[in-house]
Amino acid sequence: MYEDPIALEVFRNALVGVAEDMGEVMRRAALSPMIKERNDRSCAVFSPDVELVGQAEHLPIHLALLVSIVPAALQALDGDLEPGDVCLHNDPYVGGSHLPDLTAISPVYEGDELLGYVAVIAHHGDVGGITPGGVGGITRDILEEGVIIPPLKLCRKGVLADDVMRILKANVRLPREFEGDLLAQIAALQAGVNGIRELANKVGQGRFRQYSKDLLTYSEQRTRKAIADLPSGVAEFTDYVDDDGMGSGPLQIKLRLTISDHSIEADFTGSHPQLPAPVNASLAVTRSAVFFALRCLIDQTIPTTSGCFRLVNVVAPAETIVNAQPPVPVAGGSLETAQRIVDVLFGALAQLVPDRIPAAGMGSHNTIAIGGYDRSTGERFVVCENLSGGGGARRHLDGVSVRRVNLMNTPNNPVEVLERDHPLLVRRVELREDSGGSGRRRGGLGLRKEYEFLSESSVAILSDRKLHRPWGLDGGSAGAGSSHTLIRADGDVVALPSKVQLNVQPGDRLLAETAGGGGYGDPIERSSDALENDHIDGYSGRPDDEV
């Protein structure tokens, strides 16, 4: 089938190796916790025809992002990238996701020959806008979300454009971190350029091109086979984002999923129109969500290339919350809406491949962005927390407690790091007892985390699954909904909505409780051993009707 299947496998390893090396360079050199602690960055290699041939993604949300962003950015620049140039870009409406995700792209040349492109996407700690961290704010227009960078040249022939860097730094809250991370992205690109050139020299340019093409064919064929192995059929499912933070809701996401012999179509016609609120997903994000759901069902060793995407058709009408158009904000779209898109996909898939799909997980990034001036140092601070909740129960397994679900997988901020770096005191981090949906298999438990603020701060919460709780399957119950409570220093207790922006004073406390996962199967069938262990360990114990 291929000229040399052994050489192609060796090449495939080497190509993904280059992408992984880029990611490692980036992680080691980065300054912000988003990248250094949380791995929120991914790297990829593209062919001269701008087809994705190798990718090392560290977060599922990045699966189909670079494959959208890079061609769009190059088109915007009319393909004008010379050796040593770096294109920088974060515009969600030019193939992107949301503003904190900055993509950097470099061409790889050997002499006059274009070998391809390398790209790295990284989530930056702050990109300006009305709320710290660029997510979590109640915004009406994308201009409020931060600085928009249309595809432009950050470096020309290896020389950094100082004026571009200066204007960007002037518009973000933590310019030092921002610059450090951007330089780390450039270092990663440099590692990628060197790696690809070495590889091309080793195998020869002609073979390099041929192997790249072969890889696209290879992954397309394997994806085709994997899809053919799934049962064909049509399923429909609807789930909801609770609200938009400004009184509109619920916001439906409607899906008609068709699996045929060799392709998959995800049709989101009928989903809620876009809103002047931070709940709109760009098309690239919706595509990532679809591809993630598919990826969970097919052999993981199929390399992610453009070849895989050819078989997946996403129908998402423009100006809906699954395909936003200017000028609505998008920050929450790649978080809350993206989570729900995956839930909807799983809801439909559960009808077609019932044994392999879990009940709904906590379904939210549960972002809490805190910022202000530290009164002990006088310095500005920004911290972005994402809280996990329960995973959905599986046919044979309980759901996992307090674990990242769906498109997200960043590690948390350790309490001792949070407290050392920011004016916060964390009062508790514990499992939220009785929050897992009951069933033959219990849903995972949510998290209870309580913060005390030591300086005057602004807090933005972007969460969901308060009203539309994570559903169970096959007779299992829904998990507990999320809840956020403000306890003022004077003792006043305020129940907060799931999306809110507020100011807090020293001594105020925020109690965050995340959703539990849905249960699986009839609760009556839960074994007495499992019930007893739940009781002894305090995971659950109260009768179901009290939960």
């Binding site: 291929y2 299947p5 052994i6 192609l8 496998e9 060796v10 390893n13 080497a14 190796g17 992984e20 090396d21 490692e24 080691r28 050199a29 980065a30 916790p33 250094k36 599922p60 030092r176 450090g180 290879y218 064929q221 394997r222 086979k225 993630f292 990826r295 969970c296 052999d299 993981q300 060793t301 199929i302 392999r356 799909i357 996990s388 397994l397 309980d398 759901g399 996992v400 307090v402 674990r403 990242r404 960043t410 590690p411 948390n412 350790p414 309490v415 001792e416 790091v417 407290e419 050392r420 005191l425 009062r427 508790r428 981090v429 514990e430 499992l431 002894i536 360990d537 305090g538 995971y539």
Partner: protein, 688 residues
């Protein structure tokens, strides 16, 4: 004059290695590992050694034992019934972990089971701030009394204490530990500040829990080991290998069993380091990649100037925790690693392995899949007359059958072509592993040598070296038992560390001196009076640019010097530039951790060239495949204790040594040093 013995307890065999006091004799022996108590196997192996080499075991002055007991206790969930004591509000930290899932796309992944179940995690009312101030005081006696009731009710055997922010101020932890020990002196109790006083509560808690979890088992084992050894080698000091390629006295190993956790691979690297240092080749002397390939995995480590790379993270089963250990990068490529053709028509190798049972098809233990060892056999890299490890008779027909069915048939290739392809893909994945520990860190693999050990690495080293333009390969004489060799060379070392987290230029000399004294006292306490000689002090800082996470270790020549901040800042910036190729302009640096080691490095070990054996080595004619799949004429050499090594082994050649088989490719030439190590270089460089 005392002689030395190193012991490595492996999954299948217990290896022992003997070094005579004057360095004139080196001997290895093996005996099957016994379970659950490895002591019996160790004693048997010692007896076998004494018979094989006519040794008087009474003359052994030092014995260093590698132990996988702590590791296995965690892997097999066979530790003590352990309780965790923590700050109110934080008992679920070790269950929650860092919240991320192990696999991005597997919807059916098992819930990780916490090392200590929730019912055995207890909270005390206290709180210390990140600045070390007491926010809520600890009522130590009340809390201790309540805890003891709970321990008694649950029949707790070991206790880990980890309080939030104890890395800044340890008073509460220490008071609680002492209060519990006062009341129950026989309970195994450890506080996180004793085990690893570094920030990040999850990682610190987990390492403390692991230490407690394996503590009672390890204490018990060490007691039995010491007793058994005193009967057989009564004049020997007993040492236990640690995760840094060093060794501890038996008391320290009992107090900090977690330090021994990764000692198996670490000892092998320590052995490779000793091989590197005594090499006659200048490159192999200065920098090598240690490559250990056994049945299931290939482990690679960078060693520069006799110092292996160190990392601060260990992964055991599903538990990832903080531990200073030799930085071993492991991939699924070993002799038992399986090859197949995927549904897209590509040849894939690994990471799955058939292990040692059933093992490769050619072992004849019922394995039918095509493994790497099968490919070597088909290409005649192994001598079928020679039993593998002295035990296994290789079955050529089974190997051919397996490769034909799983690889050659589906790809439409000959069996030899398929076997050669399997080795090419396996080599490529090992090359990737070597690249990722060198290139990624700013190191050029072409300026390194390759030390190949373990059963399978010497079969791959010469081709990998050629592909990567690595100029020299060293196959140690005892390549099949290098962990036992490494145990003998392991420097005795005792360490202590503390979190500093201060900007470099804000370090106060007096404070630093006080810390170093404190750390030295802690390390001396760990060493006890059982340290086997005078100890040298080494201080290092883990430094980084302010705001970064990744640190580099910077040695501090004299901590009392007032110029320390400038010196370490400059040294860090220079090292950073080497590793990353650029430096953040004008960025501040900070010291995350201050580390101190007390090392008994120079124990007067020496090795003398082996005297020429009685029998002169002569090659037999042989046919094997080297660069492609076609068999070519070559030499087959057998080296051993009684054989005088040849001057030159010109490739192509198959060299059967005492514990492994090595390949010398066409255009390469091997020489055997006076110590019995085989050094392989390109013929052109040897003649030039």
């Amino acid at each position: 004059m005392k002689s030395y013995v190193g012991v490595d307890v492996g999954g299948t065999f217990t290896d022992v290695f003997f070094l005579a006091a004057d360095g004139s004799d080196l001997v290895g022996a093996k005996s099957p590992t016994t379970r659950p108590d490895p002591t019996t196997g160790i004693i048997r192996a010692l007896r076998r050694l004494s018979e094989a080499a006519e040794l008087d075991l009474f003359k052994i002055g030092e014995i260093t034992v590698g132990s996988t007991l702590a590791l296995n206790a965690v892997l097999e969930s066979r530790g003590a019934k352990t309780a965790l004591v923590t700050t109110r509000g934080f008992r679920d930290v070790i269950e929650i972990g860092r919240e991320s899932r192990a696999d991005l796309y597997d919807l059916q992944q098992e819930s990780p089971r916490p090392l200590i179940p929730r019912r055995l995690r207890f909270e005390v009312d206290e709180r210390i701030s990140a600045q070390g101030e007491v926010i809520r005081p600890l009522r130590v006696n009340d809390e201790a009394e309540q805890l003891l009731e709970a321990f008694d009710a649950t029949e707790t055997e070991a206790v880990a204490i980890c309080l939030i922010n104890s890395y800044v101020a340890s008073d509460h932890e220490v008071a609680l530990r002492d209060a519990i020990l006062d009341r129950r002196p026989k309970l195994f109790v450890c506080a996180s500040v004793d085990v690893m006083p570094q920030y990040r509560e999850y990682e610190r808690s987990l390492v403390t829990c692991i230490n407690a979890y394996v503590g009672p088992t390890m204490e018990d084992y060490l007691r039995r080991l010491e007793e058994a050894l005193s009967g057989v080698v009564p004049n020997a000091v007993v040492r236990i290998t640690d995760s840094l390629g060093g060794a501890l006295n038996i008391r320290a190993a009992g107090n900090r069993p977690v330090l021994t956790m990764m000692s198996g691979p670490a000892s092998g690297v320590s052995g490779a380091t000793s091989v590197s240092l005594r090499s006659e080749h200048p490159i192999a002397q200065s920098a090598v990649v240690a490559m250990d390939m056994g049945g299931t995995s290939c482990d690679v480590t960078v060693v520069q100037s006799g110092r292996p790379d160190i990392t601060s993270q260990a992964l055991v089963g599903q538990h990832r925790f903080s531990l200073q250990t030799i930085d071993v990068h492991s991939i699924g490529a070993g002799g038992g690693t399986v090859a197949w053709v995927d549904d897209g028509g590509l040849l894939r190798v690994g990471p799955r392995s058939t292990g040692s049972r059933p093992g490769p098809a050619c072992y004849g233990h019922g394995g039918s899949e095509a493994a790497i060892t099968d490919a070597h056999l088909v290409l005649r890299h192994l001598d079928t007359e020679h039993r593998l490890g002295g035990e296994i008779q290789l079955d050529m027909e089974a190997a051919v059958r397996a490769i034909k069915e799983h690889v050659a048939g589906p790809l439409g290739l000959s069996v030899e072509q398929a076997a050669s392809g399997m080795l090419r893909v396996a080599d490529a994945s090992m090359q990737r592993a070597i690249e990722s520990i060198t290139v990624r860190r700013g190191l050029d693999p072409r300026s390194f040598g390759l030390v190949a050990f373990g059963g399978a690495a010497p079969l791959h080293a010469a081709s990998i070296a050629r592909n990567m333009q690595i100029g020299v390969v060293v196959v140690p004489r005892f390549a099949g038992m290098l962990s036992a060799v490494g145990a003998v060379w392991a420097p005795e070392q005792y360490k202590a560390a503390r979190t500093c987290l201060q900007p470099t230029f804000e370090l106060q000399r007096d404070e630093l001196v006080a810390w170093v004294d404190e750390l030295e006292a802690a390390a001396r306490d760990l060493a006890g009076d059982a340290a086997n000689g005078p100890l040298e002090r080494e201080v290092t800082f883990d430094m980084r640019f302010r705001g970064q996470t990744f640190t580099l270790a910077v040695p501090v020549a004299d901590p009392t010097d007032s110029g320390v901040p400038q010196q370490v800042h400059d040294a860090f910036v220079a090292k950073y530039g080497e590793v990353f190729g650029y430096v953040l302009p004008g960025a501040d640096t900070e010291v995350e951790i201050v580390r101190l080691s007390l090392v008994l490095a120079d124990r007067g070990l020496s090795v003398e060239p082996v005297g020429a054996g009685e029998v002169s080595a002569d090659p037999s004619p042989w046919r094997a495949a080297f660069e492609g799949h076609e068999l070519v004429d070559c030499d087959l050499w057998h080296l051993g204790r009684d054989v005088a090594p040849p001057d030159r082994i010109v490739g192509p050649a198959v060299v059967v040594g005492e514990g492994s088989t090595a390949l010398v490719h066409p255009g390469q030439v091997g020489t055997v040093s006076g110590l019995g190590d085989l050094t392989i270089v390109d013929l052109s460089s040897a003649d030039g």
